[in-house]
Every structure is written in structure tokens, then in C-alpha cells.
Amino acid sequence: MVVVYGALIKALNIMIYCALVYLIGRKSYRQPVNKSIILYLLMLIAWQFTSLMVSIYSYQGRPDLVLQWYQLQTPTIAGYFILFYAVITTFRYDYERMKLCRLGYFIILAIAILSLAWGNLFLPAVQSHPTGLYVPEFGPLIPILGMISFSYLGLAFYDLWRDYRKSTYTKVRTQQEYLLLGVFLVFFASTLNFIDQLQGFPLEAVFVSLQAIIIFYAVFYHQLIDLKLFIRTGLSYLILVAIIIASLVLSIIVISMRMFDFAGYAALFTSLVLITFLLLWFTPTRKKLQSGFDNIFSPEQANLYKILEEITTFQETVLPMQSLFKKVQQLCHKYFDINPVYFLIKNISDNNFVLWQYCDGEEGNVFMTINEDHPLTDILRKSQEPLFLSDVMIHPMIKGLWAKELEDLVSMKLEAFFPMRVKDELIGFLCIPSRGDTIPFRYSFLRSMHLFVSHIAVYIKNALLHEQNVQLSITDTLTGAYNRRMLENIFERETQRSNFPMSLIMTDIRNFKYFNDHYGHQAGDRVLKEVASFLNKCIRSNDLVIRYGGDEFIIFMPGTDERKAQMVAERIQDSLEDWNRKMGLTGEDKIMLKLGTCTMEEGSLDDLIYEADQQLLEIQKSMDKQELYTIYDSSVREKRKISKQMVLALVKSVELRDTYTYGHSERVKDYALQIAKKASLFGPQLEVLADAAILHDIGKIAVPQEILQKKEPLTEDDTRLIQLHPVVGADILAEVQIFEEISNIVRHHHERYDGDCFAFPPAYPGNLKGENIPLLTRILSLADAFDAMTTSRPYRDSLTMNMVKDILEQEAGKQFDKELTMLLISMIDKNELWMPEESESPDVRGI
């Protein structure tokens, strides 16, 4: 019977191997690992086939044929060991070791030839065995064959073990564990051959098949069951089943011995009672057993139960976020030996993720914000399972990562991300830091951690909602800035801390009414939101932006003196122009802010606000006084626009007459504005300056074209005519009501700062000098001269930048305002001056 069962098992093995070959071939028979496994399986088929034939002929009682098949089997056994080693080597891609495999192939070939020609050297005869199978006698070459085979097996074990110790990847490590189990099984199966009583039983074949299935499983499955978990569960259930069977057997014996008198219904009833009792008794026993095994094989699993018991205490109250983070961190440290842990929490307001870590103290430590469009956000959001950083890095969307972002991601040194979900909503991730080159996390640990994180998600969600409510109570819903309540709270807190001096900037949107009137109230709301966001970008980390009411905002700066507050105010004013440009707001659509600053060493919040408010009023008055900040009504604007267009046409006509200065006004405007901005001028001052720059040469209309284009030196009369152009221009502009102010700037734009009428170039008569020349005129004068020097003229080529700088340095404080000139030189040096290209004159372009 043993022979028959043995034959059946071998036939079954062959079928299993064929199925495995088919499955691998269908996946890919060309991949090197697959190819080597297929070869290994083919060798197993050959071995099992010869073994099957041995069984068949043993059953038929044909020792001669049995011997022949045994001899044929000899190379397949050695081949099995060598090809198993080849599988391990190909899996490891160790090409040095491949040479040993090639040597092995020659050995297989040599053994095959030897066993065909001189089979007696391996197996000279067969003997009958009590199982009915004929067993072979070993010849002189069998020990050598054994040595070779075991050497290859030993090498396979050595190589795998060496890799296993170095391996830092969970998946690879688990694969290696399975392959090591495969090696062990082969070794175990081989030793069975030496036990005489087991000769004839197909145990070896069973183990080898098991090994083949394990190899297949290890190489082709991506999500391998943790081997420890596998063993633990297996052992646990094995012992449990054994105990149950033993208990049942015992009960039956007891019933039959003791309850014999109560046969029939009574016996049945007793049995039921006993079984019920046993089942009740087994549940705690099983739990205890399970817990015992967990403690031995999977401490993480054991810890999970404890940790889950602990987190049930969270239900008692809604914990603030920081307390919750602290608790979770403590639990992870206590039960999983992980410290610290990080929390990547999704912001409810903007869907961005924020990376937190609990730190001792009140505030959490925010490491970084990962924006909604960050590839990591995309990847994490779709993930249901724990993710390793290595998984993240092979996601195709990660290709969109910036160099800096990649650097940040790597510097975070996170290894695994555990999603926290409540129903389908992603709350965030619990992140575990990388442990460097130490042993990687086991799957069983990851599973426990994943379960733990799933449980805490709901508490995090509650904490988030709680925080959101708190936030809502102190936030202005329209702009997202803080509200007055927050200001009062913070002021009180800071006063208690005596965090003086405290400063406050009060700001309102000067032209807010304009947006509401022209674009509707929704546009007005948008402006408020944008301004709040702009102010938030300009402030320091300890400052607060508060919407005070209407279009007024307050920037509260605890522990800030007047100078620092002023610096913040200046930064806001400086950034405003750029910000407007980035927002695409130009001309009258530019958002303009008025800023009032106040600092105090003591006092109440009302005092502080009152002071800042007064400052703001002062500024408003001063603006009104200068008439620079006139808020135009629509009809004035329209008139101004038309007049401007007319005068621009005039300017064009002037420029067309002087081809060499074509585009000059436009360039002067660009330079003047850049200098003005650098000199911290803003808002309407810039608009006035821009207009003045465009119109400054309008007086050339009175200069004959031949003089303008003259290449020879100018006569005295010519010079006089040209020197008249500021006056003529100013007179023309003075006729237009809206250009009156510009008229004054144009009139003096050729004044020398030192007022020296005999210097060269001479001042055009105006009798003004130094600070008496309006600031805008001084800027215009500098810009005008700069453009003249940097562009070609009929009588000379453009000067080099070094020459220009030299001249500017020489004329600083003489022809030009010294401070402004130095400012311009520093802009040139720092490469901050944007220089428009010199336009081609109309005739050059052939118009």
C-alpha cells in the first residue's frame, strides 16, 4: 500500500510542478528568475517521474528496471540541489556566484553521463524493503554526490542568511525568510533518507513539493504573509485543536465509563452539557493560549490588545489636539518602541496637510505644510493601506516633485504613513520616522499599527472638530483673519505676560468704496479676503492680523517696539505694488492701503487702537492736503483719460519728429518709477510721476525738427530754443486742468540740484535748487539723464554702464540729488534696475 500511496503522491507532485511551470510561464518565462525556477521545476518533474517509475516497477516486482530508474534518478537529485542554488543565486542576482552555478550544470551533465555509462558506481543494486519498495544500495560515488549536493545547499543557506542580515526592506526580508524556510525543508527532507524506518515513505517528495510551493509563493507574491504570524497562527490553532480533541476524547471516555448507567437521552443530555461547558471553558483558554503565543512570537499583537484597552479611556472626554498627540506618542513609545511619531493632519479649511509632532510644552511643533497640489498629497489621499516612503517614491505622480520638495521629504526622514480614516473621510496620517539601517518593520507590526491608527482616527477627528469650533469663534468667516474677540484674548494674555512694548498697525483700504461701487459687493468681499491674505504674508510669525470692521484691519504685534513696527509697516507698503502686479491689478484697480502705526509701553487695548486710529486720520488729512491722493469720481477719471490720450498722441508726434529719442519717454517713465519705488514712494505719487515722465518732453513740439535731428554742434540759438522746451511743455500742460500738478514737475525737470547756471550741463533757468526742486522732479531729472546716457544720440553712441556710473558719481549732489543718485548706482550694481531695450525708431523699422 505504501508503494501505491507513494506513486500517487509522486504523480500528484508532477501535476503540481506542471501547474507551477504553467503559472510562471504565463507570467513571464523570459525573466531570469522565472527562467531559473522553471528549470528547477523541470528538474523536479524529472526526479519525480523517475521516482514514480521506481514505484511502479517496485509494485510490479521488477528489481532490474527499478535499478535502472534509480540510476536515471541520480543526476536529477544532484540537479535538484544545484538548480535550487541557481534559483537562489538568480534571485539574488549575484553574478560571481553564477560561475558556481555554471560549474554545477557541468556536474549535472557529468553525473548524467556517468550514471548512464557506469550506473553501478552510484547505485550497484537494489534491495527489497518491508514497505514493498526496492531501496538502492549506495555505490562509491554516492558520498561524493551527497557532498556536492549538500555543498550547494549549504551555499544557498549561507548566501541567503548573509543577505538576510543586511536586508533593510520588509518585503525582501520576508521573501528571504520564506526562501530560508525552503532551504531548511530541503535539508530536513534529505536527512529523512538516512532514517532506515522511513525508507520507502514518500516524505521527501512531500517536503520538496512544499518547498517548490514556498519558492513560488515567495517570489511571485508581492504581499507575503509574515512568516512569524504564519507560524504563530498555525501553532496556536494546532495546539488548540489538539486540546479540543483531547478534551472531547476525555469526555467520551468519562461519559462511557461514569455515565454508563444513564444511557440514551440522559447520555445525550450529559454530553451536551459537557460540550457547552467545554466551549465556555475554552474561550478564555484559547485567549490565554493566544496571548501566550503572541507574547512569544508577536509582541506587537499582544501590545495591540493592551493599547486598544487604553485608548477606550479617550472616549471620556474630547481631548485637545495637543493632549491627544501626546497620549498617542506615549502609547507608541510604550507599546511599539517608536519615538517620536509624527502626525500629518489635513486642514479642514484648505485641504493642505500639516506635519505635526508633539513637543513638551503647550504648542505642537509644525514641521511643514504640504499643499493640496503637492504630489505626496495626491498619493496619500488615494491610499487605504499603510504606505512606506519607498512606495511613495515609485508612484508616478512623484515625478512632479520639485528638488526642494524632495529634499524636504527626505529630510523629514519618515518611513511609513498610516492613514487615519473615519468612514471614508481621510483625516490624516500617523507617520513613523525612519530607523536607518536597522532591521525593518515586520508586517505583523505594521498590521498592529494600522489597526491602532484606525482606532485613534475617530478621536483625532473629534479633536479637529473641536479645534475648528474654537477657531470659528475667534475668526472672521469672510476673510479668515482673526476677529476682535481674538484680539481681546491675546491682548489680555500678553498683558498678563507683560509683553510690552506692544505695537499695532491699523490699516484700511483707501479705495474700497471704488471696488464696491464699480464691481459690486462680491468683488468688495474678494478684495477684503485678498487683503487679509496679503497682510498675513507680510507679518512675522508672532503677529496677528485682525479684521477690525468694514475695510479696517489691525496687525497686533506683541513685544514689538516702534522701530520694528515701522519696519513691518514699510514692508507692507513696499510689497503692495508687487502684489498688485501679481494679482493683475493695474491703474485704478490697484488696491491701496493706508497704514497708521502706534506703540505703547502700557495701557489698554482701547488706548492702543485709539492712537493708531488717530494716526490714520492724520495720514488721511495729510493726503487730502497734498491733493495727491484725490479720489476721483468717475467723470473726472473719464475726462482725465481722454485728456491723457490726447496728450499722449502729442507726445508720439514729438517723438516721431526726433527719431533718435523714440521710446525715450516710455523708458524715462520705467526708470523713474523704479527709482521712486526704491525710494519708498507709493500709490498716487507713482501715478503722477509716470504721467510726468511720459509728458516731460512735450515742449519739444516748439523745437524745429532739423534742430532735434542735427548731427553737428548746436548753435547758441539752437540751444536757446531747446532750453525752452521745459517751459513750453509746462505751459501746454498747465492749460489742461488735470495736468496742472504735472506741469510744475515738467517745468523744473532740467534744474540742477546745485542750482549752478554756469556749470555744464547748465541748469535751465528756473531759479530752484536743492530740496526746493520737487522730489518727483528730481527723480524725473535723474531718469531723463540716465536714459540719455544709455541710448544713442545723433552726435554720439550710447555710453557704457561703467562710464554712466562714473558720470553719475561725479554729478551726485551737483546736477542730481545725491541720495537719489546713490540709490540709482546701487540699483545698477545690484542688477536691480530693469532696462528696457532701446526701441527701434520708426524709420529704422520702415514704417
Binding site: 513571464s28 523570459r30 525573466q31 531570469p32 528568475v33 534571485f91 539574488r92 542576482y93 553574478y95 543577505d163 536586508s167 533593510t168 526592506y169 518585503k171 525582501v172 521573501q175 528571504q176 508581492h222 497640489d373 504630489p375 495626491d378 517614491m393 515609485i394 508612484h395 508616478p396 505622480m397 515625478k399 512632479g400 516633485l401 520639485w402 528638488a403 524632495l406 521629504l409 527626505v410 502686479r581 501679481k582 493683475g584
Partner: protein, 532 residues
């Protein structure tokens, strides 16, 4: 942080290679566009910090991509020459990690130098590996390449982009074995290198062939013809059992099939990777000689790898993370050619239309210097996606050099590929050819200068090529039908004209890339030299 195949093999993570190198195929067009915009945003911020970038982006006032596409002008190498020819590294947007060069078409510059940043360099190498993986794969996820695989490499040496990328970057990623080793190969003449490579591959085998199709073809012909050199070398081959075994195997296969020995009888390359437009022309012959279906790609020195072919050998899949890709529709391209002042409109990857022709415009990512750079290539969109292999990205095919289109009486625009295919299909035995558009009595004529090797009259040759051209290009056949004009003329060159031309140029010390004359509209001097 980006892991190389070399590392993955070392860490036994070889089953991740496909994901690391080929996962871009999983992207949808929307996702690819997201990557395009993100990386462009990064590139703009990098450009703004450099002198070159500031110069190129002078018209931009914000960071918006719309403004970038509408305000920043198209560029050519001329716009970069000052920075790149003198290697002014301080003015570039990214740190130059590797300088490669190309000879350029116009010959205006001896070499057009191009800097690659480390990221750009590694990314380009990654896509070369992806291309080789695709070339060897029979299906999705299959990685047949393994460490120690041999590469028979016949492209230009370092610092030409093809040589530099292949040798240094690819070796950084994958432990290939080069035949002959690059250090030795670069000391040798191009043809000696091939000879040496062939000899070595008899012993070592060929796992990857990387070169131009004509080399593969000439090796095939060489074998089919039964070269006497081979017989001469037989003695030395006896010293190498592996070479001998390979030859014996080849001889057995060829005897069994009753034909001459072919390369495919001796070698069984995993990948035949080919560059150049002859790939399509010679595909069938290469398959006949070598057994494998060659893979192609679309790359350039300025843009790195722009598109790669996958395992099913359909068009080249566009790569989203090396360059910001813009495409000028063909009509716009023509208009801009006629009126250089006209600024053509561009479309992005997600707006491409199937079967349409576009001129390709690139902006380097990852710190590269080129901004809205006109590569001068026309490509045809063969498909917007390939559901058969589950790829959702657009597929393109090289169509022509923008300057190489020959316009015939406004009826048709012939490409080099069309003319070459017509000559090839005509069955005329030829060594090489050039074509020039000439006028004969105010009539446009397509004059093909042919170095033919068989006995054939001029009229016969003209008729044969004319017929094939008409078959391949219906618009061409309309020229005859509607104008009653046969615009084709064949001029036979003296036999070996091209060989002599190459020798002459080599003697003059001309750069490797300019040894051969341009086929489309070469200069009159070139024609004159060929006719000598």
C-alpha cells in the same frame, strides 16, 4: 533619493525595477499635465534666478504659465550661444553636471554645447533604461534585462549626447557590459570599433544592440554574403570555445534552414534599440537578419529623451517630466515659416489631435537652460492613447526635420522618409542618395542623386521611383495628374561617390556627425563633390 536598477539588484528588489523606471505609463493625460505644470513652475523659479533666465523671461511680469506661453518668445540655439559655447556656468539656471554636444544641422557652430544638470542627466538615463526595458519586454511588467548583459553600442562617442548618455548615465543606472569597453572604444575609429565589437560579441554574446539601423543591416548583409574575413578569423575563434559554440549553433541553424548564416542564428539579442529615421525603412530587413523587432525612441541633445516606444512597438509615448512640451500645429508652423514675424500658437500635450503634424517646442525642466526652444522637428501624433496596453499618454512619431520638407508646386511636401521609402520600395540597388529641389525651365524638379550599384537606365530608375512616390504620397501623384508634370529626375552619381565623399571629409578632419552629406537639399558644393 531616486533609486537605480543597480541598487535594486543589489538589494534583491529587482521586481521593483519596472515600477521605478516605467511607471510613467500609468499616468493619465491629466496627471501628466499636472506634472508638466508643476515642473514648469519650478523651472520658472529657477530660471528667474539666473542671468540667462532673466534674459529669456524678460517679458514676464508674473509666474503664470499662461503668461509664459504668451509672452516668452521662441528661441533657437543662437539665443544661448553666448552662454553655452563659452560654458558660462555661473549664468545658467542649474549647475552643469555634464556637458554634451551635438554638431548641429546648420554647421554654424562646430559643436553645440549643452549642459545637463545632475537631475536632468539622471532622468534622461532613466528613460534610456526604460526604453531598453520596453525593448526587451514582451508584456507589461516584464524585465528581462539583468546585470552583466552585454551592449554592442554603435552610436557616437562621448561627449556626443548619445554616447555620453548611453555610457555614463546608463552605466550609472544599470551594470551593463559594453562591447568593446568605452575606454577602449573611444580610442578607436568608428568602423574599427564596430569590427572589434563584433569580434567580442562572438565570445560574449549580444544582449543589447544600440545603434543605427544601417549598421545592423550592414552586419546582416556582411554575414549573408559570407565574408572572407570571417573565414580568416576562424582560427582565432577556435581559441574561444564560447565563440566557437556560437558559430557552430549558427551553422547548424542555417544549414537546417538551407540558407546562409545570419546574425540571428548566432545571437539572440534581448533588445535591438535603434536611432535615426532609417529605423522604419529597414525594420523588416532588420527583423529578417536579427530576428527581433527593433525599438526606437525620440531624443535630442537639447531635450534629452522626449518620447519612448513601448513593447508593442506603436508610436513613441511622450515623457512628461523632462521638458515642458508645446506643439505648434502644422498650419501655424507653415505660416510662421512664410512670415518669420508671425508668432505661432502652441498647444499642450493634452490638446494634441490624432494624425496631426506638429512642430515640437521644449522648455527644459530640472534646471536645464532651454526655454521655448524650437527643436526644428516635426512630429506626427499617431494616437492620443493606446488602450491595448493601457497607456493614456499621447504617442508620436518623428515626421521630418522642419527644414527638410521639400515643397513641390504647393501640392505636396515630401519628407526624407517618404523619398527614402520610395527608393527602397522601388527595388533599386543603391548605396546612398541625396535629393535637391531644382528648377528646370521655371518648373520645380525633384532631382535624386543616386549612387546605384545595379545596371539600370536613368529613365527606368525615374519611372520606378516616381511610381513608388505616387503610391506613398497621393498629393505627389496629383502633381502629375493636375499639372501634367512629372517632377522627378534621377542623376546617377559615380559608383562609390558617398564612400569617397566620406573619405574626403575624414581627411579634412570634419567632425564625425558631418561626415555624411545631408540628404535633403544639400548644398551645391556637396553635389559637386559627389559628382566628382
Amino acid at each position: 533619493m531616486e533609486v537605480t536598477a543597480r541598487q535594486l539588484f543589489q538589494e534583491n528588489r529587482q521586481d521593483e525595477i519596472w515600477d521605478h523606471y516605467c511607471n510613467f505609463l500609468e499616468l493619465s493625460t491629466d496627471e501628466a499635465m499636472k506634472i508638466q505644470y508643476r515642473l514648469l513652475e519650478e523651472q520658472l523659479s529657477v530660471l528667474k534666478k539666473s542671468k540667462l533666465g532673466q534674459e529669456l523671461l524678460a517679458g514676464m511680469t508674473s509666474d503664470s504659465i499662461e503668461e509664459f506661453r504668451s509672452k516668452v518668445p521662441f528661441t533657437t540655439y543662437k539665443d544661448y550661444a553666448h552662454y553655452l559655447l563659452e560654458k558660462n556656468e555661473d549664468d545658467l539656471p542649474g549647475d552643469a553636471f555634464y556637458w554634451v554636444h551635438t554638431s548641429g544641422r546648420s554647421g554654424e557652430y562646430r559643436h553645440k554645447w549643452v549642459p545637463y544638470t545632475k537631475r536632468f542627466w539622471e532622468r534622461a538615463g532613466r528613460y534610456v533604461i526604460a526604453s531598453l526595458i520596453f525593448g526587451s519586454a514582451g508584456k507589461k511588467g516584464e524585465v528581462v534585462l539583468e546585470p552583466g548583459d552585454t551592449i554592442f553600442f554603435t552610436l557616437a562617442p562621448r561627449p556626443y549626447m548619445s554616447g555620453a548618455l548611453m555610457v555614463d548615465s546608463v552605466l550609472h543606472h544599470f551594470p551593463f557590459k559594453f562591447l568593446p569597453p568605452p575606454e577602449i572604444a573611444e580610442e578607436m575609429d568608428f568602423f574599427d570599433r564596430i569590427e572589434k565589437g563584433l569580434q567580442m560579441s562572438l565570445t560574449e554574446g549580444i544582449d543589447v544592440f544600440y545603434g543605427i539601423a544601417s549598421i545592423l543591416l550592414s552586419i546582416g548583409k556582411h554575414f549573408e554574403g559570407g565574408s572572407t574575413d570571417r573565414k580568416k578569423n576562424l582560427g582565432s575563434l577556435l581559441m574561444s570555445p564560447r565563440a566557437l559554440a556560437r558559430l557552430i549553433k549558427g551553422m547548424i541553424v542555417s544549414r537546417r534552414k538551407k540558407r546562409g548564416i545570419l546574425p540571428k542564428d548566432i545571437w539572440n539579442p534581448k533588445v535591438l534599440a535603434m536611432g535615426g529615421m532609417d529605423c522604419d525603412i529597414f525594420r523588416d530587413k532588420v527583423i529578417h537578419y536579427w530576428g527581433g523587432n527593433p525599438i526606437e525612441g525620440y531624443a535630442s541633445t537639447e531635450a534629452g529623451v522626449t518620447a519612448v516606444q513601448t513593447w508593442n512597438r506603436s508610436g513613441n509615448v511622450l515623457i512628461p517630466d523632462q521638458n515642458f512640451l508645446e506643439f505648434i500645429p502644422f498650419a501655424e508652423h507653415l505660416r510662421s515659416k512664410e512670415d518669420p514675424g508671425y508668432i505661432p500658437r502652441t498647444v499642450t500635450m493634452d490638446q494634441l489631435q490624432e494624425n496631426e503634424i506638429y512642430e515640437i517646442v521644449i522648455t527644459n525642466f530640472l534646471g536645464g537652460p532651454f526655454v521655448r526652444y524650437r527643436l526644428g522637428d516635426l512630429v506626427k501624433v499617431t494616437a492620443k492613447e493606446d488602450p491595448a496596453i493601457g497607456v493614456c499618454l499621447p504617442h508620436i512619431k518623428f515626421y521630418s526635420r522642419a527644414d527638410d520638407l521639400i515643397d513641390l508646386a504647393g501640392f505636396t511636401r515630401l519628407t526624407e522618409l517618404t523619398i527614402w521609402r520610395a527608393i527602397e520600395n522601388s527595388g533599386i540597388s543603391y548605396n546612398d542618395w541625396v535629393v535637391k529641389k531644382e528648377t528646370d525651365q521655371e518648373t520645380p524638379v525633384l532631382n535624386i542623386y543616386l549612387d546605384a550599384s545595379g545596371k539600370l537606365s536613368k529613365e527606368e530608375a525615374e519611372e520606378k521611383i516616381h511610381q513608388k512616390l505616387a503610391e506613398l504620397d497621393s498629393d505627389y501623384s496629383d502633381v502629375e495628374k493636375m499639372l501634367n508634370l512629372k517632377p522627378l529626375k534621377v542623376t546617377f552619381l559615380p559608383e562609390g561617390a558617398f564612400q569617397r565623399y566620406i573619405q574626403k571629409k575624414r581627411a579634412e578632419g570634419v567632425d564625425l556627425a558631418r561626415l555624411k552629406p545631408y540628404r535633403m537639399n544639400p548644398s551645391s558644393d556637396t553635389i559637386k563633390t559627389l559628382l566628382e
